[in-house]
């Protein structure tokens, strides 16, 4: 591109410069980036900077009576159990997504083998991923209903069991929400794994076949190593996802009865209790967690390549 404008390096008027390719480049950049950059600054840069500043303040939504409180907000987060508990609740979702990845891999391997109607099975299992989150939440509110009208209680009553209060029993309610979450998202993992398995060259299978490999050896020595990268990536995304769970518990239980998550708590603190400073500090903590995970991801995938 430089060659094109090279002959006209000599003195030029502004108009000529603008018509030349260097000038055009600047004009195009300004023209094309004006709106996206304005949006970026308004809705990402300013809020991010504010978030950082507010996290050291005590303030409400309107910004009157602002007080600088130093690290007090952060101290509150790490000493008050009600905040820590919500952070600990993400462990349920992390364990859940671990199980989800295992199951997804299992089902993906089955779907890639000699199976009739594989497309139909895949379609059924994948569909929940596309479903509206509120619809999913309402379906599971009914599914886990505590009286004998609940779907799950109807099923277990067929086996003679008494109805269980799934959502108000604090020792099981988080697992129920994790189940709903796995139900919704597993299809996506399966889709990813099927894509990865199908991109393995058939030659490798042929070679393994000549060597007389059985199904397990086939999985362990061919499929697993080939898709290890994508498993690791999904795992990292799962950690980020587990730290940012919001919709399913927010709608099914409203975050009550010990099912609140860090993000639900952030939104409550910010909008219900109008403690913008504290909520900002929570957002910064979550950002910190995500940055740490991302750095681990970068280091890990550099080695892979």
């Amino acid at each position: 591109m430089a060659n094109v404008s090279a002959p006209a390096v000599k003195k030029r008027t502004l108009g000529q410069w603008l018509r030349g390719y260097t000038g055009q480049k600047y004009m195009t950049t300004i023209l094309f980036l004006a709106i996206p950059v304005a949006l970026l600054v308004l809705f990402t840069v300013i809020p991010a900077i504010n978030m950082f500043i507010f996290s050291f303040q005590q303030r409400d939504q309107l910004g009157v009576n602002v007080q600088w409180v130093g690290f007090d907000n952060y101290k509150t987060l790490f000493t008050d159990m009600s905040y820590l508990q919500t952070l600990l609740n993400s462990i349920y979702y992390f364990v859940g997504s671990f199980i989800q990845l295992g199951l997804a891999l299992f089902i993906a391997v089955i779907l890639c083998s000699k199976i009739k109607l594989a497309g139909v099975f895949k379609g059924f299992i994948f569909f929940p991923y596309l479903m509206n989150g509120v619809a999913v939440a309402l379906i599971f509110q009914r599914f886990f209903r505590g009286d004998d009208g609940g779907t799950l209680n109807t099923i277990i009553s067929l086996f003679g069991a008494d109805p269980v209060k799934w959502l108000s029993n604090t020792s099981i309610n988080n697992w129920c929400l994790v189940f709903a979450s796995v139900w919704r998202y597993i299809g996506f993992d399966i889709l990813m794994f099927i894509g990865a398995i199908q991109s393995i060259s058939p030659d490798i299978y042929e070679a393994a076949d000549l060597d007389g490999a059985n199904a397990w050896q086939r999985f362990w020595h061919i499929i697993f190593p080939s898709i290890r990268t994508i498993i690791a990536l999904q795992l990292i995304l799962a950690i980020k996802g587990a730290a940012s769970v919001f919709e399913i518990p927010y709608i099914i239980t409203g975050g009550k009865m010990g099912t609140s998550t860090f993000v639900i708590k952030t939104i409550e603190t910010g909008f219900q209790y109008q403690k913008i400073g504290l909520a900002s500090a929570m957002a910064i903590v979550l950002l910190g967690i995500i940055i740490v995970i991302t750095i681990i991801q970068k280091i890990f995938f550099k080695e892979e390549k």
Binding site: L31, L40, F43, I125, M131, N132, I200
Partner: protein, 297 residues
Amino acid sequence: MTDNKTAEKTFDMSKYKFRETPKAVRVLFQVLKYVVLVFACLLVVIPLVVVLLGSLKTHEDFLSSGAFDLPAAIELENFKTAFIQGDVMRGLLNTAIILAFSCFGTIVTGTMTAFVVQRFNMVFTRLVKTIFLIAALLPNISMQVTVFQVVHMLGLYDTLAAPIILYIGTDIVSIYIFIQFLNNISVSLDESAILDGCSYPRVYWSIILPMLRPAIATVLVIKFVSIYNDFYTANLYMPSDGLEVVSTALYKFIGPYGSKWEIIFAGVIICIIPTLIIFLSMQKFIYSNLVSGSVKE
């Protein structure tokens, strides 16, 4: 895009025989596979069947019958109530408006940003690219604590413009996808067009944009899934009656229809139907675009 290449050579396990496993074990394995798949499908279907059955029952029938009992008579009144009184109709309409504007906006701004950032290597474009990269890390929902004040200040609060502008302005994934795709489009195409006297905007319009079509398809699929299913943006920024989207219209059912689950179920079914139709009519398209969209992360 490696998809096309690998599609031809898709692995077909049926061609290979498991030499060392006896037939009985093989049959058993095969049966077990189907058992697992059928069980998984049942797990998906059972909660949905209950919703479908319930939505067809009258209130009395719903209360007196079990979750798996067939309705005494098919009752379509629930759907009417959910659709009109329950504002699902308005929700679908508002969602369609938001989808149309934000998809259009994202494609225009996203492709333009990607073009400039990927093709022009200048200090400013590198800076913008870096900010986008960092912005991708910010926790979406938690950020609303401070985004809210900006939206409020701009006077966008409680208008359809709030979600539209947020979906356009904070969609970094789409820009990513476009940039990744542009990495694979040779610059020599641009250069030959420039030698023919094309200006940069012209290069964007006549060469880059048509070439980006597959990436635009990917972005559209991801946009549709995320916007149609998004709940918190509308919940936070459009609390007024009349501004419901599908998600918030359904969410509002919990109050007034809290004891009328047959109507809630009808609402759930109505809101799933568009997704189901789209899914069934372009299943392969959705699969391949979601896969190619996520590999780019």
